[in-house]
Symmetry: C2
Subunit: 203 residues, 2 copies
């Protein structure tokens, strides 16, 4: 097909429908909305897309996304350099930051072990973790493994424990159980089982 013959509206709808959670109907609605808004709106979105992909890369220390050599968290002298929170991805890091509960630094794995899909330790940022623990981050004492309580997240946590504990690090795992506001009536058996086995003495 000749390049100029491609319908630009169809092309825009197709491009938008590749975004996550966007079907053809929403993409069509978005496309017409964009066309109604005029060129400035589209140009701003286009520039944001290009700028983000051009300027954002991985933090040399923790693999968080950043437009600097080191991300804002790693560069913050207020953060506790003795505790490292290991997360699956940047969204999880951001969720933990929003809770304002954690004052240490992070390490982003960018995935989990998934043997069935052929993803082993070399497929996630484990090498980078070991390298920083042996190099610039010798101050780390405890690693909180905050991968999700899913099959893959648990497998990844177990793997990290087996590698890191013999090296002398304290390896802890986030607590699992009923979420705050949750209800036993609606909780799944695995969550209830975890809530029971993870019980703690009340003080």
């Amino acid at each position: 097909m000749e390049r100029r013959k491609v319908d630009p509206i169809a092309r825009l709808i197709q491009a938008l429908s590749r975004l996550p959670g966007v079907g053809e109907k929403s993409a069509t609605r978005m496309a017409f909305y964009v066309l109604r808004q005029g060129p400035t709106f589209a140009a701003d979105l286009a520039e944001s897309l290009l700028e983000a992909t051009q300027r954002v890369s991985l933090c040399a220390r923790c693999q968080n996304l950043t437009d600097q050599a080191e991300c804002g968290i790693c560069a913050d002298p207020q953060r506790d350099v003795r505790v490292l929170c290991v997360v699956e991805n940047v969204q999880d890091l951001r969720a933990i930051e929003r809770s304002q509960e954690f004052k240490g630094r992070y390490h982003v794995l960018h995935g989990t072990l998934a043997p069935l899909e052929g993803i082993g330790p070399e497929g996630i940022k484990v090498k980078e973790l070991l390298s920083r623990l042996a190099g610039s981050d010798r101050s780390v004492e405890e690693l909180i493994v905050a991968t999700n309580p899913s099959v893959e997240g648990e497998a990844t946590a177990l793997y990290l424990q087996r590698v890191l504990q013999p090296m002398g690090f304290t390896v802890t795992r986030i607590a699992s159980g009923l979420p705050i506001g949750g209800d036993f009536e609606y909780a799944d058996p695995a969550t209830i089982s975890r809530a029971l086995s993870g019980r703690q003495r009340m003080s």
Copy 2:
């Protein structure tokens, strides 16, 4: 704020959240997805946005969106030039085209009358309709007013009837009633009322 200091991820999330139906959460998910896909994905979406807003304009005849002087429907010699279907917007035109029920041409109003919001006939493409009926489209005999069965759509239909009928055109209105597969039990009173008053003799 200095221009270079704006976090490109935050900027992308903000730009994406201006799309219709996209809240901050979906925008965040989209932004990280885009960053994971790499620069080609973002560049393609950015180019689609720019190309669409640069190349697409209104059809000189029917006000449909097109990248030509006249849209594909107006340029199609197979379409019946005696019937004109008047719609609110391009999405509605596309929906009617998908039904493959209509073989005439269209006129897109790009809105409805909305006196409370200060939108009168000059705020929608009525002038363009009258001008084509008096000029290049003298062949038109019937106008099917296919604005939506909403307060604004009905008001617009009534207005068009009052203007066009005295000019000698046959002005018809789309049928309203229970949708196919609908159920009286769940239909609203206005729809039921319309289904009854619009009843037709069975042949």
